[in-house]
């Protein structure tokens, strides 16, 4: 009798408090975490995009905007947005919870594909977020000193008792590489929708990562692997240049879709395009009309967002086939394979020019090819946050080093190549709660 009471009492109290709460235990639970588009795909802070030379601001706008936008614009040392750090680690923890859930599941014959896809996606997201953190809060990768330099805290478990420590720069990048590689071995070739990672996206991510590490052999190899699996390009002739958002979300060129938050400074009416950059597009280059709209006399705003959201409210910063072509082209050029390099460049550009007007580019030599490819890279990958990463890596090479200049209210601000400000401060709250080392002061 009393045993009955105890069991029925236990049963009574075993009922769930909130139906929406679940202790994750199935592949579906893990997949649901990884399908959380809002959390995993849309909270990328455009710290780089706000600091790079894709845009400039008018003085009146500068004066009327918020402090953070002003600070990032002029590379003020105190520029800090805590959430840029917080949101990336939120992605990482979600990925870790998914991984820990999957680790407890022994997949059956019928579920092994789902299990592999979920695990691959979790590893991919973890690497993708770690990469973002590394590109903002750790110094640019340099293989000669990477073992001595500080990297970022790598979170490989959701256990909150695991202390936060900064890994070395080498460990940081190796972890990103190994997560991507394992992901590539598990993921399906392509995915639908492209909010989910795929093997072609993982290869593209590896190509991007190796490029940032100046490992052009590997970068080229993974770019090639990605293009082998998927190489569809949008034909810009099929797009409507009058549209305010000419590109649609999840378009055929996108391998993996993520977007950045849109601060006011980057909105189409406020972020002005450098006029030299604008005029560098040929009149027959469709990007001139598909990427830009006039913002009043002599100024242009960017509308070539691959996410399909208008006004730059959320700019695409994911992975797309055009970038992979450009990586393979660059790597080939750097390795002296001029012909293949130019082939890739022309394969891309013919889809960008008005039909029948494109005259394929040629290069005198590898150096010329590389210059042309980098110039086209600059013109193709605007407002994707990639420019900042390119500045970080290209500045290491004196041939491509560039000093950024801003003129605000008559005052000049400069950001010389390899400046310490290319590495942002870690939020003070993180330093205070963990005791990890802050990035160098200047």
């Amino acid at each position: 009798m009393s045993a009955f009471f105890v069991t029925s009492c236990k049963k009574f109290l075993d009922a769930k408090t909130d139906k929406k709460l679940v202790v994750p235990s199935t592949i579906q639970d893990a997949q649901a975490i990884l399908d959380n588009y809002s959390t995993l795909n849309t909270y990328y802070y455009p710290l780089g995009a706000q600091s790079d030379d894709d845009y400039f601001l008018s003085d009146t706008y500068y004066n009327s905007t918020d402090e953070n936008s002003r600070n990032y614009y002029v590379w003020y040392k105190d520029a800090v947005i805590n959430n840029a750090w917080n949101y990336m680690y939120q992605v990482i923890v979600n990925a870790n919870v998914a991984l820990e859930t999957l680790a407890k599941i022994q997949p059956q014959q019928s579920t092994v594909n789902d299990w592999k896809q979920a695990k691959g996606a979790a590893l991919f997201f973890r690497a993708y977020a770690h990469y973002q953190v590394a590109q903002y809060y750790a110094s640019p990768y340099d293989k000669n000193i990477a073992s001595e330099k500080l990297g970022i805290p790598l979170r490989l478990t959701s256990d909150i008792n695991e202390p936060t420590v900064r890994s070395s720069l080498e460990e940081t990048w190796q972890q990103i590489i190994s997560d991507y590689k394992e992901a590539a071995s598990l993921l399906p070739v392509t995915s639908s929708p492209v909010s989910r990672p795929s093997r072609s996206a993982a290869y593209a991510a590896l190509a991007r990562t190796y490029l940032d590490m100046d490992d052009f052999v590997s970068a080229g190899k993974y770019a090639d692997s990605s293009l082998q699996l998927y190489n569809k390009l949008l034909d810009y002739n099929s797009l409507n240049p009058a549209a305010s958002a000419p590109f649609s979300r999840f378009n055929t060129e996108v391998l993996f879709n993520t977007v950045m938050l849109g601060p006011g400074a980057l909105l189409i009416n406020n972020a002005r395009i450098d006029s030299l950059l604008y005029t560098s597009y040929d009149l027959n280059d469709l990007r001139r009309s598909l990427f830009f709209q006039s913002n009043g006399p002599g100024t242009y705003g960017f509308k070539g967002n691959y996410d399909g959201t208008s006004n730059n409210a959320a700019n695409f910063n994911g992975l797309a086939v055009d970038e992979v072509y450009l990586v393979r082209a660059e790597c080939n050029a750097r390795m002296g394979n001029v012909a293949s390099a130019m082939d890739d460049l022309n394969t891309l550009l013919i889809k960008r020019w008005k039909s029948g007007t494109f005259v394929p580019y040629t290069a005198l030599d590898a150096e010329d090819a590389l210059n042309k490819i980098l110039q086209e890279r600059r013109k193709e990958l605007l407002f994707r946050g990639i420019r900042w990463f390119d500045l970080r890596r290209l500045n290491k090479d004196p041939r491509f080093a560039k000093t950024l200049i801003r003129k605000v209210n008559g005052q000049l601000f400069e950001l010389p190549p390899n400046d310490k400000r290319y590495t942002f401060f870690i939020p003070e709250s993180v330093i205070a709660l963990t005791g990890i080392q802050q990035n160098e002061r200047y």
Partner: protein
């Protein structure tokens, strides 16, 4: 003299008896006025046989032995013994004399049992309906304010909060448990009609509240509803009242600016080019004000400077507050009616009450109606069995169409102050909303729906209604198993259904705006992705709760004066809340037709205003809380002098993700009391009653949302992926513990001679441990906050309650004084934020810092304005204007803790004078030793969001002003850190102390109705004036610190009639 007389009568009667029969009958009357006394205990001395008198004072008792002594006792009267040594032939006539100490028998309820307050050790505060009916508030809980000691009402937040003896937890739920007739009340308190309430008992210490265990940490408020009485004639009670309250005075609202100042700011900003980004914006078309449009026309040469000036000067003379008051507000009128019937025979009693309330709120378009039916029947089929059945049904219906403020959207929080809502003829005028008006004039070339926003039309076309039905059924059964053993079983079912419907017809801006946004130009015209038609938003909620309780109580006494009562019981309880909400597009309210939309596609909004999917606010929730509890308590007393008390309770709940052995927590309490005045050696004649009380014990707080296992929260599929998704919730917390509150209470109850002064003084100390609080954690863990058992809180205080009868003749004057001192301190808090500046705030929410009051007002240290009108503060102890670092990495050295926003000293004083049937009562309320932060001007918000404050007028304008004002100069570009520093600095903190005349009540009772043989037994007329005004306040800015950012309520006037037939 009188006593002798009674004794003589009794002796005469006794001499007539002969011991022939065994049954004695008689009547007990009051010696004072000859009225029959009911409920007098008649006992045979030395035996456990007792009887009682009925309403006519008659009794009947069976004698088993001759030479018995009957003892007649009644609270408030002196006991009397009567020796019976022969057979009784006639009925006895006993006169009882009033006790010099006419202590009223106060029965308090803790929700499980009724207790005589005189015999209890705990801290109970009972408020009867006479006191509750002083106020005419439609919310019964609000009526407790100023008449209950130790209770503090905080109105600084939008939601009123009640604190019993300060704070016991630091999480969101700091509110006391509300119990209505034995069971926790899960519904909306507004469903309870105050006319049904017999009394309220507030359980303040551990011994009183511990019977509620893990839910009693914040104190317990027990509402007892009215019931019928056995042997009572049928009574009909009809009450009605009307309350009138003036509409709010918006011109007293500090959060406005005069239109000229606002226009001057706009002119200044225009010249700085501040609006250029908005004016050049051809995509999202942010709105700009009419003044900016005029200035633009001037700049573009479309109008001359003179024309521009005259157009602007017209606007300078418009104040939107006039229109708000004229169209949005009205004087509030609340009506209350109740009709009740009660009565009872020897074995059945009944109470039935019908209530109807109607409130026309101060906001035009907001009306509330409440109808309630409450009925309780008690039935004794056998002597040993009593059955109770109760039903309470209430319907609340409201329309919520009022507009209290216009939110223009596009980043603006308020409307510019020179807006006009209607033309001279009262025709609605459009005002700026969401987009620039000049764009809306031309957008769509006639293909779109009208896109203008006219506030008065919105008010007229709005159709927002809410309804809630609450049904509570209670069944109880009391069975006397033996004379000493009572078995009780009690069950309750509560079912609440709530429904909200917001219908935006196609005439409303809400519908037109969404339809237009999702319209697309096509070659042939326009394609509407949101169909033409209204939009219906609906939300329903259902609460189903039940409770079942069975308990045994054993009650015994020995001849020698020992008395023992043991109670033990078990209870299960479940509350299940289901909600769902959603939206229907293209809805036609007349035909009930609707259309389908595409929720997935990312549409480019009309005219490139942006892009997005059609909003789908559908949602479901399903929350289940279950509790199992075992409880018992024991009361022992000896000769009504010494009292001992002990109680224990174990609660378990369906705490999520916790192994079952961690689901429960045992809590206990104990106490003792000593009624000193009953001691034979007690000689203090001036203080005929004196009792000391001491209790010690634990109560708790439960939070079923915590988890010891990793958990994820599922979310609905959404655009663009349309896949079900989930998010990892807060990290698992295997160390989760229940919150525990230890409380010590010491009290003295006393009554001075002739009851001239009576009252109690209590000292308590609380120690709350394992408090759950969201603590900042390393964001690298994926969360920025984590709720853990991180805090301890201590509290101590004194509650003084004094009743003084100055004169008790034809002219009566009595005073009731409540005075409370409370102090809370955070004694442990594991994690402190690195930036102490983050603690600077309004003091409305809890800022847990070790060693500080949880409601401390913390400020940036203030060093005045400099000669440029810039505020100066401190950075690393030196005077600084580095605002960014002053608010980002502030150390304690550069901060000041000025005090608490919760008054440590507060109370009330109610004076009542009466003469014949007229009674006049006025209540004062006072609060001391506290601070508040006033709102002031924030230039960044003023420029960007049109958030205004009248302190703008007092800003620094020229050198020298820094000596007379603390309001910084206007600066451009706006520096939000500079604003933040000033707003949260010492300069905006004011002392809160005040003394207010809270209310006044005049009552007239038509005399002598009782004696006359008329149908009308009672007729009372009264008027009640509430929120009369502040008599004295410490701040010089004429601010009322007790209402936060809201306007203090206007004085209200009530008139009422109470009748009884």
């Amino acid at each position: 003299m009188k006593k002798n007389l009674i004794n003589t009568i009794v002796a005469m009667l006794i001499s007539l008896w002969a011991f022939a029969q065994t049954t004695v009958t008689g009547v007990v009357r009051s010696a004072a006025d000859n009225s029959p006394l009911s409920d007098v205990t008649v006992k045979i001395k030395g035996m456990n046989i007792a009887s009682g008198t009925g309403p006519d004072g008659s009794f009947r008792i069976l004698l088993t032995e001759k030479n018995s002594i009957l003892v007649f006792s009644h609270v408030g009267f002196k006991s009397q013994e009567c020796k019976i040594d022969s057979a009784v032939k006639e009925s006895l006539l006993i006169f009882l004399e009033k006790n010099a100490l006419a202590l009223k028998e106060v029965i308090v309820s803790n929700g499980y049992q009724d207790l005589q307050q005189q015999n209890s050790v705990g801290s109970f505060d009972k408020i009867d309906n006479t006191a509750l009916d002083r106020s005419t508030d439609a919310n019964i809980i609000n009526r407790l304010e100023n008449i209950t000691g130790g209770l503090y009402f905080s109105k600084v937040k939008s939601q009123q909060e009640i604190f019993i003896r300060g704070l016991s937890t630091i999480r969101a739920n700091t509110q006391p448990l509300l119990v209505v007739d034995n069971f926790p009340y899960e519904g909306d308190i507004n469903n309870i009609n105050p006319s049904d309430v017999e009394s309220i008992t507030v359980l303040k210490d551990a011994a009183a509240a511990s019977i509620w265990g893990a839910r009693a940490g914040n104190g317990v408020i027990v509402i007892t509803t009215k019931k019928g009485k056995y042997n009572q004639r049928a009574r009909i009670i009809l009450n009605t009242s009307v309350t009138w309250q003036r509409k709010p005075d918006l011109f007293a609202d500090p959060n406005f600016m005069n239109p000229t100042d606002f226009i001057n700011v706009e002119q200044f900003l225009f010249d700085q080019g501040f609006y250029n980004a908005a004016l050049n914006n051809t995509s999202t078309r942010p709105l700009v004000s009419p003044v900016v449009e005029i200035l633009l026309k001037k700049r573009n040469g479309l109008i001359s400077p003179a024309q521009s000036d005259s157009m602007i000067n017209i606007l300078r003379n418009i104040d939107v507050r006039n229109d708000y008051e004229k169209y949005f507000y009205r004087n509030q009128v609340d009506q209350q009616y109740s009709l009740g019937l009660s009565g009872g025979s020897a074995n059945l009693n009944y109470y039935i009450n019908f209530g109807y309330d109607k409130s026309l709120s101060a906001l035009v378009g907001n009306n509330t109606e409440r109808a309630s039916l409450n009925s309780v029947t008690n039935f004794k089929p056998f002597k040993k069995l009593e059955i109770q059945a109760g039903i309470n049904y209430s319907v609340n219906r409201s329309t919520l169409n009022g507009i209290s403020a216009i939110n223009p959207g596009s980043g603006k929080s308020n409307l510019y102050p020179y807006a006009k809502l209607a033309d001279e003829n009262g025709n609605p005028l459009p005002v700026e909303k969401d987009y620039r008006m000049s764009y809306l004039d031309t957008a769509g070339s006639g293909l779109l729906l009208d896109w203008k926003y006219r506030p008065l039309d919105e008010l007229n076309f709005a159709d927002n209604t809410a309804q809630s039905n609450d049904l509570t059924l209670q069944v109880g059964l009391k069975l006397n198993l033996t004379k000493k053993l009572l078995f009780e079983i009690r069950g309750e079912l509560e079912n609440t259904f709530q429904e909200e419907k917001n219908y935006s017809s196609v005439q409303t801006y809400t519908a037109r705006n969404i339809i237009n946004r999702f319209s697309q130009r096509t070659a042939s015209g326009i394609k509407r992705n949101v169909p033409y038609g209204g939009i219906l938003d609906y939300a329903t909620g259902r609460l189903a709760a039940y409770g079942l309780r069975s308990q045994l109580s054993y009650n015994t006494e020995w001849l020698t004066g020992h008395h023992l009562n043991i109670l033990a019981g078990a209870e299960i309880r479940e509350a299940h809340t289901l909600t769902n909400n959603g939206r229907t597009y293209g809805y036609n309210n007349d035909l009930l037709t609707y259309s389908n939309v595409d929720y997935i596609t990312n549409f480019t909004l009309y005219g490139n205003l942006g892009s997005g999917a059609i909003p789908n606010p559908a949602g479901y929730s399903d929350i289940l809380n279950r509790y199992v509890s075992l409880y018992s308590n024991l009361t022992y007393s000896f000769k009504e002098r010494y009292f001992l008390f002990g109680s224990a309770r174990k609660d378990a709940s369906n705490l999520f993700g916790v192994s079952s052995n961690n689901r429960g927590t045992p809590l206990w309490s104990s106490g003792a009391a000593w009624q000193l005045s009953q001691e034979p050696f007690y000689r203090l004649k001036w203080m005929p009653f004196l009792k000391l009380r001491f209790t010690y014990g634990f109560s708790g707080n439960v939070d079923n949302s915590m988890s010891a296992l990793p958990k994820i929260v599922y979310m609905a599929a959404m655009s663009p992926t349309n896949l079900p998704s989930a998010i990892a919730g807060t990290p698992p917390n295997p160390d989760l513990k229940w919150e525990k509150v230890r409380m010590i209470n010491m009290g003295i109850d006393f009554v001075l001679r002739n009851e001239r002064i009576s009252g109690s003084i209590e000292y308590y100390s609380k120690n709350a441990t394992n408090l759950l609080s969201p603590a900042p954690v390393d964001p690298t863990l994926g969360v920025t906050q984590f709720t853990k058992n991180v805090a301890n809180l201590s509290g101590k205080g004194v509650d003084l309650n004094l009743n003084i009868h100055w004169t008790d003749k034809i002219f009566k004057w009595e005073s009731g004084l409540l005075f409370s001192y409370v102090s809370n301190k955070v004694t442990r808090y594991l994690i402190e934020s690195s930036n102490k500046g983050s603690y600077a705030g309004l003091g409305y929410t809890i800022t847990p810092i070790e060693g500080q009051d949880p409601y401390a007002i913390i400020s940036y240290r203030w060093a005045g304005l400099d000669s440029l009108g810039d505020p100066k503060g401190y950075l690393n102890k030196t005077i600084s204007k580095d605002y960014s670092n002053m608010v980002r990495t502030t150390s304690w050295d550069d901060m000041v803790i000025q005090g608490t926003s919760r008054p440590p000293l507060y109370g009330s004083l109610i004076n009542t004078v009466s003469w014949k049937g007229i009674s006049l009562s006025f209540g004062f309320a006072f609060r001391f030793q506290y601070y508040f932060r006033k709102n002031s001007i924030n230039y960044y918000s003023l420029f960007n969001s049109w958030i205004m404050n009248r302190d703008f007028e007092n800003r620094w304008q020229k050198p020298g002003d820094e000596w007379i004002t603390n309001v910084p100069a206007m600066s451009y570009p706006a520096n939000s850190n500079r604003d933040k520093f000033y707003l949260y600095s010492e300069a905006t903190v004011l002392k809160g102390d005040l003394f207010r005349l809270q209310d006044l009540r005049i009552t007239y009772d038509f005399p002598d109705l009782k004696l006359a043989k008329r149908a009308l037994k009672k007729l009372q007329l009264y008027t009640y004036i509430n929120n009369i005004g502040i008599l004295w306040r410490a701040n010089k800015e004429h601010l009322d610190p007790d209402y936060g950012g809201n306007l203090p309520p206007q004085t209200s006037f009530s008139f009422g009639i109470k009748t009884e037939f």
